[in-house]
Subunit: 215 residues, 2 copies
């Protein structure tokens, strides 16, 4: 285990600020109280060095000594092994936290991200594609998640990386008003984002990109 | 650690056979040489007991003693802790295997599954939605993955759960001929699916559903 260094873009446009995935990593690091520093990589002109850390040319990646990790989900699993504030020590609870982390990434975000991408195109809201992807998100994902979130404060007993990932995925859904029929899911997002560690992570990301505007 | 029980549907239509996600779990169990048995849950009439194990009403789930896990990715991470044939012991390699497992789920499958869903609708191939999702898959995912797979036999040094997940995701892309411009990716799928553990897992799934037709 070594120094933790989080790398994100040197700048991004206004729209994604507050939603760039380094916020997930910052949030986890703040929850765990692990010291780290932030470095940057060019947003506009992505070089081979960037692809050597992140093969799809995205961010974030984290280095921990000689280990470099991409994929926000993988980074959070790694940090979970460094702090029981992120992954509970009890094997059953730990397993639950991990399954919810994967559910956020591979069940819920998989359903929300395509609609997010379509929303930036000329695709019509009543096209067969839009309708089927919207139904997939609502009927097969959010409608099932709602009763789960109505019945518990956090997904795996105590707050964990499962909540960081699920709340961050739902936070984007909420921005698009896809949660309007799911009061428990909205309350969950509000509960998660009211945590001081999220507030710090969010403010730090906003300040980081605001500073980039001035330099 | 207890007996391993994998639950899948009692029956599925012809089309998804060979691609139901229990094949990922069977594959991992066969690679690791871990004994397990298979149980089933109704495909057509999903009950509360099903949702108590898998909140989205899907399959598979795995029980390991008193721990019940859904999400194929989470199940493979769990099994990885039981066998170094699935996750290497070396910390750096292990971290790589996990990041590639997450990349398969949250970068590549997130890009391929929407197109897969659209392909069953009346969505036109030249609609704005189809085009942007197709570009996302090819330009931002498969085109970057190709040089990675051209340069190595397996994603994290030795075969791991990262390969099970990535090869299974790419196997579906290959079925839709989305890999036609990526020879190294096609060769990787061929290499992975030539493993005896995959052949056994695939044959077992096919036989399981074939038997359901007769009962």
């Amino acid at each position: 285990m070594g120094d933790l260094v989080l790398t994100t873009y040197d700048w991004v446009p206004e729209w994604p600020r507050g939603f760039v995935r380094d916020v997930r990593v910052r949030w986890a690091l703040e929850e765990a109280g692990l010291p780290y520093r932030v470095e940057s990589t060019p947003f506009k002109d992505r070089q081979a060095q960037h692809f050597s850390h992140q093969p799809f040319g995205q961010v974030p990646w984290l280095t921990d000594g000689d280990i470099s990790i991409f994929e926000s989900g993988a980074i959070l699993l790694h940090l979970g092994n460094r702090s029981d504030k992120l992954l509970p020590a009890d094997p059953k609870r730990r397993s639950e936290a991990i399954e919810w982390a994967i559910a956020a990434l591979n069940s819920v975000e998989m359903a929300s991200l395509p609609l997010f991408i379509l929303s930036f195109t000329q695709e019509k809201r009543d096209s067969p594609g839009w309708k089927v992807l919207e139904e997939f998100l609502h009927k097969h994902r959010l409608a099932h998640l709602e009763p789960v979130l109505a019945g518990r404060e956090w997904l795996a007993g105590a707050f964990s990386i499962g909540d960081i990932l699920m709340a961050d995925v739902l936070r984007l859904c909420d921005r698009f008003e896809w949660l309007k029929d799911y009061p428990a899911s909205r309350a969950y997002v509000a509960r998660a984002t009211a945590r001081p560690a999220f507030a710090k992570a969010y403010a730090d990301q906003m300040a980081f990109f605001a500073k980039a505007d001035k330099s």
